[in-house]
Symmetry: C2
Amino acid sequence: MQSIQQSFKVDFSYKVFFTRYLFSPDNHVFRDYLLSQASGALIKKLLFVVDDGVAASHPQLISQISAYLQHITSFDLAGDVILVPGGEACKNDQALFYSLVDKIDEQRIDRHSFLVAIGGGAVLDLAGMVAAVSHRGVRHIRIPTTVLSQNDSGVGVKNGINYKGKKNFLGTFAPPAAVFNDIHFLTTLQPEDWRAGISEAVKVALIRDAAFFEWLEEHADVLVNGDLPLMQELVYRCAALHVAHIGGGGDPFESGSSRPLDFGHWSAHKLEQLTGFVLRHGEAVSVGIALDSVYTSLLGWIDETVAWRIVRLLHRFRLPVYHPLLEEQQGTPSPVLKGLQEFREHLGGRLTICLLKKIGQGAEVHEIDETLLNKAVELLKENYATK
Amino acid sequence: MQSIQQSFKVDFSYKVFFTRYLFSPDNHVFRDYLLSQASGALIKKLLFVVDDGVAASHPQLISQISAYLQHITSFDLAGDVILVPGGEACKNDQALFYSLVDKIDEQRIDRHSFLVAIGGGAVLDLAGMVAAVSHRGVRHIRIPTTVLSQNDSGVGVKNGINYKGKKNFLGTFAPPAAVFNDIHFLTTLQPEDWRAGISEAVKVALIRDAAFFEWLEEHADVLVNGDLPLMQELVYRCAALHVAHIGGGGDPFESGSSRPLDFGHWSAHKLEQLTGFVLRHGEAVSVGIALDSVYTSLLGWIDETVAWRIVRLLHRFRLPVYHPLLEEQQGTPSPVLKGLQEFREHLGGRLTICLLKKIGQGAEVHEIDETLLNKAVELLKENYATK
């Protein structure tokens, strides 16, 4: 019996730029990037997709973009900037997905042109999926506008849309061509969105960087009150840890079952779904971190005082650390527990949950003890349900 | 201004197996592969999608599959085998695409389970796309059943479906987990399908392997009459060249504009579309090879006698080398010429067309001289329109 072995490596690389006032005429960051991508006399197109909430908070944005591009001869704005509704709802809207695919077609966006998405994580996920599957992959530039997308999802390699209510059921791994984090967008966020993004910083600090965790503790009160330079540092440190984990973790496209960056996420995904996405992703992750931290201490892996130190930090960020759906409901198991099975199915293979070895270091388990988990829920309820 | 550079490599590897009677109880090829993919006690699922034409020609196939799998304890057949219509039409059917996504969901196929597709290139393209975007990539096994899919598309890294009549407008690059070429499937092909697949062998020989071209000339008459051992050798040599080109060409996911494997394809894609896919892909490619070979000789790159030697070989395989749509239509340019622009758009960037330096070596150009192209059409018409 004959066989042929195919083997090859594909190189992926992209830069995450940190700047302020990206489309101001004197800001060269975006222009320099585009010029680095020019190919002789060929005109490349840029199709912009913008979160309508962002456009509303920044009424000059669209005219700024068009003025900014006017002086870059090798790149053309493709048609009008497209506004799409922000938030998780946009990922449920199949018609919206196809209307963006239609724009790729109508505007003749080819594999050397760019879809540029400006918005929160949901808009970036949707636009990234459109770019990834059109012509087998149009180049995609991300301009995240929330804390959560600037420090976490927007600098990563995933995209996705929901299907029949299942979060990210359809999606791909498709690294962006570049990411531009403009801190100015954070100044118009709702306080809840400002805070919600911080939970991913707490998460990545817990699994990768004890010093960053201590820095978060030190600056929590100033951060939560809207200090922009400190938030800029938080976003940079968190994004850097996230990028390093993906690039250095050995499995950027997650072919295994391990997903340490998803600490606190198994219950968070389920809570988001059960609350119809009323609970923000970052808020749900905060509950998930609290739950898994207390659970970890009940397993005896970390000291009880360490677990409550984590929960207290989340609480100082005015993030929720408990939700009634965690509890047993009239004698039946907590509906969130079903999230364990769904998490396993989405990742595939063996159930693999990230817990903590200590602050700054994650560790994996392949089973969850329901009795201890319920105990963790009770303890969180006792201490934080009414706070 | 700060920035973070992300860089990583992703390894892709898969084997293409050549066998006969894949699901016969004493054939260990498929079983050995599955066992190499087992993970301890974890049961992995196999969801089969089968081309209904193949199932009709091989009425025992489905029961053979289920009997074969019964003895492999760590793998389970997920639900019933799903039959889908074969041929290009299945790639136009959005409802069919989503019905397969629904099966992934209903049968709880996760990223460590497998979608196994058995069929011609169109079914493999459709099923490959379903696998690639479900859960951001379910493992995908291909069992191609036509000459064309066994020696070309089925052993490559692309998938895709059509959108609003545009071929492969939606798709991804997603290498299969494994490919199984069972030569027995070729015994039930229509003669037209047997022959159509040969054009890709002629193509890859022309751009990569002069000795293979001579081998094709030597065996043309026996091959065209259905000799299975010779076809087995043709499929193996062609697949090996195709696999080597993808893995060794330096750009497996086609981030550049160059696509040497698409010799003869720019007009072929357009001819397929203009004939509503009545012309088979392999037949259209044959016309495209003939056109670009004669055009290459008019450019003076190869001798006229070489061009006609190529055309004659295609003709000996009873493949078309001319089509009326190549001609000017009532004074307006040939409708196939529009295919040049569409080909550029699909690849992106600069127009890049593969021609021939000599038999066995391709060469690229970035423009096509319409006068010479029309001349090539005329010459083909004069010599072959009535043959």
